[in-house]
Amino acid sequence: MNARHPTRRSLILSALPSLAFPALVRAQTFAPLGPAAGGFAQPSRDTRLRFPADHGPHPAFRIEWWYVTANLTGPDGTAYGVQWTLFRSALSTDDAIPQAWLGHAALTTPDRHLSAERMARGGTGQAGVTAEPFSARIDDWALDGPSLSDVTMTAAGADFAYDLALATDRPFVLQGDRGYSLKSATGVASHYYSQPFYRAEGRLILPDREVPVTGLAWLDREWSSAPLEPGQLGWDWASLHLATGEKVMAAQLRQQGRAPFTAATWIAADGSPTPIPDGGVTLTPLETAEVAGRSVPVRWRIALPDRGLDVEIAAVNREAWMDLLYAYWEGPVTIEGSHAGVGYLEMTGYE
C-alpha cells in the first residue's frame, strides 16, 4: 500500500481547469462517492495492466497523470532537478464535455527554481497522449517515444527549457497489488505503475547558457476517479534513488487531529517492489525555511527500519516553490546517512 495515489496529485488536479471552475472542482473533489461519481469508471482489482496500451489515456476515469522527475548532474558536478508533468481531468461524465489537460514543468538549479504551466482543451489537438508510438504533448512540451521506455522529454517556460533523452531496459514497476493501489481507510483505489530506472541525458537551456547533463529519472503513471478526502492537510512525498541501486518511495499524509498516514515502497535493483504498510516508515522534519512567505521543511529524516534505511534528505534548492495556479514545493534532494543518493521531494499544504 502506498499513499502516492490519487490523493497526492488530485489536489493539483483541483486546480486543473484553470481555476475557472472552482465550484465545479470543489463539487468533484469533496462530493461523497455517490451517484455523481458513479458515472466515472472505477479501478478494479481484476484489471490487468497491458502495455503499451495502458501508457495511453483512460478517459473514462476522472483523473490521470504522466509524472516525471529527474535528478541531473552538470559537467562540473552541479546538481539539477527537472519536473515534467501532464495531467488529464474529465470535468464531467458527459462525453460531450471536453476534457481538460494541464502541464507543469520546472527546472531547479542550486540557486534558481524556474517553473511553467500549460492548459488545454481536450479534443482540439492542443494536448493529448497516444500509447503507440508513445507521445504525450501539451503545446510545445512533449514526452515523445518511440516507446515509453525510450523517450525525449522537452518543456519550456519563458526563462528556461530542457531537452532530455530518457531510456531504460528495466520493466515497469507495478505498484500495490499488480498495479491496483488501494488506500486503506476509505477503500479508494487507483491504477498505478512506475518507471524509476530511467537514465537521463540531454541539455538544460537557461537564458544565459546551456548545460549538458546526465542523471536518473522516475516516471509515475496513475489514474483513478477517487475524490480527495476532507481533513487532509497535505502531504510530504519523496522518491529516492539509492546509490546501491535500490529505489524507495516514502510518503506521509498529514491529517487533521490524527497521526500521519504513511506509506512506502522498497524497490529492489531488479525492479521487484515491496509495499511497506502504514507506520513502517517515519518522516521527521529537521529544519524549515521561509519559502514564498510560508514555513516549509527543507531537511527531513526518513527511517525505514525494516530495510535498515535511516537517512537525511536535504533540498538542493530550498526555493523550489512551484508558483503556479495551484502552488506547492517540489525539488531535488540529496541523501546522506545509512545510504547515499539523490531523490525528489514534494510537499503540499504548507499555507
Partner: protein, 790 residues
C-alpha cells in the same frame, strides 16, 4: 435629564409640524437630487469599469488579422511556444457574443465569477454569461447572470460562439503571457498576424464621458445647494424660536455642553430621517432618468451603460452622509450662536433679522471673493474644471450678492412711494428681505440656471439644426452590402440621379488619438454647403487636388490645428485648409480629396454613397432600389430620416438637463413657500399695528401678495444677466472642453417671459396660503400682539 431635555426640544416640532415638514422636505429634496445624480453616475461608471475589464478591452496584447484566424493557426502558435487564447466575436441581433476559451485564458480574464461556470458551459448546448437584467433573444443558450459583464455583451464558450455565429475562424488571439524561451519569432510562426498593444477603450470612454458626468454632478450639486438654503432657513428659524426654551432649560440647570449636544443629536436624527427619504426619492429620480442617460451616452459617445440601476451600499451611505453633512453646514451657525448665547441676554425677537443685516455685509464680501475667483478661473484657468469653477463662482457670487442688490433696488423704488401705505409697503419689503433672502437666493440660482441652460440648449439646437441642413445635403444615403453590389448600384444609378457622391472613410490615428478620415468628392454639394468655420483661399480646390486636408472643430480645438498648420494622415503630412463643425462626434476627424484617400487607404470599403436626387423623386427611387437590389431598410436612408434621428438623439441628450432644471426650479418654489409660511407666523407684530391704525386684513394680505410677486420679479431681473453669463460660459468654455466645439450664443426673450411668468406664478402661489390666512385671521389674534410678552 438628557431624555427630558430632548423631549422638550423635540416638542417644538410637534407644535410646529409645518416647520418640521419644511425642514424634512428641504433636506429630502436636496438629498434626492444629489443622490439621484450620483446613482446615475455610479451606474455609468460601473458600466465603464466593466467595459474596461471586458475582454475586448483587456490589458493584454492581441494578435489580429483582417481575415478570420483559422483554429490550426492557434495550434501552430501554441506548438511553437506562443501562449495565445482565441476569441470569436460577433453579433446575434443586438447582442454582442464573445466566445472565449476558458482553458487557455488566464482565470483572472475569465468573465463572471467562478460560480457562473459549470460543465454545461462547455457542453453542446452551451451557456451565455450576461449582465444582470440583460435581455437574451429567444433561441440562444440558457443565460447565466454575472455582475462584471458589460451590458449588451454575452460571453460564451468559443465552441458555442462558433455554432451561434456560424463561423469557424477566430476574431483575434489574446497573448496571455510571454512566449517560451525557445519559441521562434512571431513573424516566423504567424507572419500574417498583427501584434496590437493593449486596448485602452474603456479608459477612453471614461475620459470622453467625464465631462457629461461632471455636468450632471454640477447640476446635482446645484440642486443640493438650493435645498440647503431651505434647510438653513428652517433650522435658523427653529433655533431662533426656541431661544426662550433653551434659556429656560439652561436656567433649570442643564449644562451648555449637554444642551448643544442634544441639539446636535436632534439635528442628526432629522438629517438621517430626511436623508433616508431623500435617498429613496433619489432612487426614484435616477430610475426615471437612467434610461435617457444611457441612450445619451450611447448616442453621443458610443458608451454602453446599463439601463437599470443597481443598489450599491456605497451610494445610499454617501447619500445619507451628504444629508448629514448638509444639515451640519446649514445648522452650524445656528448651533454655534445658540451654544454661545448668554443665559441672561434679553429676549430680542428681532435679533435674528438684525443679525441677518450684519450677515449681509459679510455676504457682500463673500460675493466679491466668489466673483474674483470666477474671474481668475475665467482668465487664468483652462480646462473643464476651471470652467466649472468659473460657473460656481459666478452663481454663488450672484446668489450672495442678491440681498444687497435687492435692498438697493427696494431703496430706490421706495423713493417713488406716495403716501403712507406705499412707504410702509417698501419699508416692510426691505425689512422682510433678510428672512426671505435665503429662499430668494435659491430662486436666483434656479432661475439663472434655467436661463443659462435653456439658452445654451436653445442656442445649441439652433446651431445643430442649421448644421444638419448644411451637412446632410444629399437627399438619399445608401450603404451597399458588398463592393460588387455597390458597383452594380452605381452603374444603375448613374443615368438616374444628379450626382453620386462616394462616402469613404477609414479609422486611423489623428494627432495620436483614434480618429476617422473621410474621402470627399469634388462636388458643389460640398463647396456650397459644407459647414466650414475657418477656411483659407481655394480651400475646396486644394482639397480636391489632394494638396490639403480639412479637420473637424474638435480636432482643431484640441490640438490647436487651424488653417496654415499641418496634420499627418496615414503618414502623409498635409496642410490644413479648413475647419468644419462636426457636432455629436467626440472624436477627431479629417477630410481629404477622394483620389488622395484612395491612395492612402486603398482597402477602405467602397460601399457608401450620398445621392443627389430631385426632392420629388426620392421616394420613388428609394423604392426602386429596394426592389431591384433587395436592400434592407437600414441600407437606404433619406435625409429627413437622418435628421429626425439626429434631432431625437439631440433632444434626449438634454432630457436629463431639462428634468433637473424643472426639479431645481420646483425646489426653489418650495423654498419660497416655506419661507413665507414660516414668516407669516412672525409677521403679526409687524402687521398688527398697521391693522390697528386702520387697514383691513384683506388690504394687508393683498400687499403681501404684491410684495412676494415684486421680490420674485426683482430676483428674476437679477437672475437674467447671471443666466446669460452662465450660458456664455457653457457655450464658450464648458462645451469647448467637454465636446470640443464652440457655439454662438442666441438669446430667446420669449423663453424668459415664460420663465418670468412662471416665477411670478410660483411666488404668488407660495404667498397665497399665508395671505389667505392673514385675511381671515381673527382680530383677537392680532390683538394679542399688544398684550403679550412673546
Amino acid at each position: 435629564m438628557i431624555r427630558a431635555g430632548l423631549m422638550a426640544l423635540l416638542s417644538h416640532w410637534r407644535r410646529r409640524p409645518f416647520q418640521l415638514l419644511t425642514l424634512v422636505v428641504g433636506l429630502a429634496t436636496a438629498t434626492a437630487l444629489w443622490s439621484g445624480v450620483q446613482a446615475i453616475n455610479a451606474e455609468a461608471r460601473a458600466s465603464y469599469d466593466r467595459a474596461a475589464g471586458d475582454l475586448a478591452g483587456a490589458a493584454r496584447e492581441t494578435l489580429e488579422s483582417d481575415a478570420p484566424i483559422p483554429p490550426a493557426q492557434v495550434l501552430a502558435l501554441r506548438r511553437a511556444g506562443w501562449p495565445v487564447s482565441p476569441v470569436l466575436e460577433g453579433r446575434v441581433g443586438a447582442l454582442r457574443v464573445v466566445g472565449i476559451d476558458p482553458f487557455t485564458l488566464p482565470p483572472g480574464d475569465v468573465p463572471g465569477d467562478g460560480g457562473s461556470f459549470d460543465p454545461a458551459f462547455l457542453g453542446p448546448e452551451g451557456r451565455l454569461i450576461v449582465a444582470p437584467g440583460a435581455e437574451v433573444p429567444d433561441g440562444l443558450p440558457p443565460a447565466v447572470r454575472a455582475e462584471s459583464v458589460p451590458p449588451g455583451t454575452a460571453y460564451t464558450d468559443i465552441a458555442t460562439a462558433a455554432r451561434l455565429l456560424e463561423d469557424g475562424g477566430y476574431t483575434r488571439l489574446i497573448l496571455t503571457g510571454p512566449p517560451s524561451l525557445t519559441a521562434p519569432p512571431l513573424t516566423e510562426v504567424a507572419p500574417d498576424l498583427t501584434r496590437r498593444a493593449p486596448d485602452t477603450g474603456g479608459a477612453d470612454v471614461a475620459r470622453l464621458t467625464d465631462s457629461f458626468h461632471l455636468n450632471l454632478t454640477a447640476f446635482g450639486f446645484l440642486s443640493f445647494a438650493v435645498g440647503l438654503f431651505i434647510v438653513r432657513g428652517a433650522v435658523g428659524l427653529a433655533f431662533e424660536q426656541r431661544r426662550p426654551m433653551i434659556r429656560t432649560l439652561r436656567a433649570l440647570g442643564m449644562p451648555r455642553a449637554t444642551l448643544t449636544a442634544l441639539l446636535g443629536m436632534e439635528l442628526l436624527i432629522l438629517a438621517l430621517v430626511a436623508g433616508a427619504i431623500g435617498v429613496a426619492l433619489g432612487w426614484v429620480i435616477a430610475s426615471l432618468l437612467i434610461g435617457d442617460v444611457a441612450a445619451t451616452l450611447r448616442g453621443l459617445y458610443g458608451a454602453e451603460v446599463a439601463g437599470t440601476l443597481t443598489l450599491r451600499p456605497a451610494w445610499w451611505l454617501s447619500g445619507l452622509g451628504i444629508a448629514v453633512l448638509g444639515t451640519g453646514v446649514a445648522a452650524a451657525a445656528s448651533l454655534w450662536q445658540t451654544a454661545r448665547m448668554p443665559l441672561l441676554a434679553p429676549a430680542r425677537p428681532r435679533a435674528w433679522a438684525r443679525a441677518s443685516g450684519r450677515a449681509m455685509r459679510w455676504q457682500a464680501g463673500a460675493a466679491l471673493v466668489c466673483g474674483a475667483v470666477a474671474l481668475a478661473a475665467g482668465i487664468v484657468g483652462g480646462g473643464l474644471v476651471a470652467g466649472f469653477v468659473l460657473l460656481g463662482g459666478l452663481l454663488l457670487g450672484a446668489a450672495l450678492a442678491l440681498p444687497l442688490v435687492l435692498t438697493a433696488a427696494l431703496s430706490a423704488l421706495s423713493r417713488t412711494a406716495r403716501g403712507p401705505r406705499g412707504e410702509w409697503f417698501w419699508a416692510d419689503a426691505r425689512q422682510q428681505l433678510p428672512s426671505l433672502s435665503l429662499a430668494l437666493m435659491a430662486l436666483l440660482l434656479a432661475l439663472a440656471t434655467n436661463i443659462g441652460v435653456g439658452t445654451m440648449v436653445s442656442s445649441f439646437r439652433l446651431s445643430f439644426t442649421g448644421w444638419l441642413d448644411q451637412r446632410l445635403a444629399a437627399e438619399l444615403y445608401l450603404h451597399a452590402e458588398t463592393e460588387d453590389q455597390a458597383r452594380e448600384i452605381e452603374a444603375y444609378l448613374a443615368p438616374r440621379v444628379d450626382a453620386i457622391l462616394p462616402i469613404r472613410s477609414a479609422e486611423t490615428r489623428l494627432a495620436g488619438a483614434p480618429g476617422e478620415v473621410f474621402g470627399v468628392a469634388d462636388h458643389a454639394t460640398y463647396r456650397d454647403n459644407w459647414p466650414l468655420i475657418a477656411d483659407s483661399p481655394r480651400v475646396w480646390d486644394r482639397v480636391a487636388a489632394g494638396e490639403a486636408a480639412l479637420v473637424n472643430e474638435q480636432l482643431a480645438r484640441r490640438e490647436g490645428i487651424w488653417p496654415g498648420d499641418r496634420i499627418a494622415i496615414a503618414g502623409r503630412d498635409l496642410p490644413v485648409a479648413g475647419v468644419y463643425s462636426d457636432y455629436g462626434n467626440p472624436r477627431g476627424q479629417a477630410m481629404v480629396g477622394l483620389a488622395l484617400f484612395d491612395a492612402l487607404f486603398p482597402d477602405a470599403p467602397r460601399t457608401r454613397f450620398g445621392l443627389r436626387v430631385p426632392e420629388a423623386e426620392v421616394a420613388g427611387l428609394a423604392g426602386d432600389l429596394r426592389d431591384r437590389f433587395g436592400l434592407a431598410d437600414d441600407r437606404l436612408t433619406d435625409q429627413a430620416a437622418i435628421k429626425r434621428a439626429s434631432l431625437a438623439v439631440f433632444e434626449r441628450t438634454f432630457t436629463v438637463t431639462a428634468a433637473l432644471n424643472v426639479l431645481t426650479l420646483g425646489v426653489a418654489g418650495l423654498a419660497i413657500l416655506t419661507s413665507l409660511l414660516t414668516l407669516s407666523g412672525m409677521r403679526q407684530p409687524q402687521l398688527a399695528p398697521v391693522w390697528a391704525l386702520g387697514m383691513t386684513r384683506r388690504a394687508l394680505a393683498r400687499l403681501d401678495l404684491a410684495r412676494a410677486a415684486l421680490l420674485a420679479g426683482l430676483t428674476f431681473l437679477a437672475a437674467l444677466p447671471v443666466g446669460i453669463a452662465l450660458a456664455w460660459v457653457l457655450l464658450a468654455v464648458v462645451n469647448v472642453e467637454a465636446f470640443g466645439w464652440r457655439l454662438p450664443l442666441f438669446v430667446f426673450p420669449r423663453d424668459w417671459l415664460v420663465l418670468l411668468a412662471l416665477s411670478l406664478a410660483a411666488a404668488l402661489a407660495a404667498a397665497l396660503i399665508p395671505a389667505r390666512r392673514l385675511a381671515r385671521m381673527p382680530p383677537a389674534q392680532l390683538l394679542k400682539v399688544f398684550a403679550h410678552e412673546r
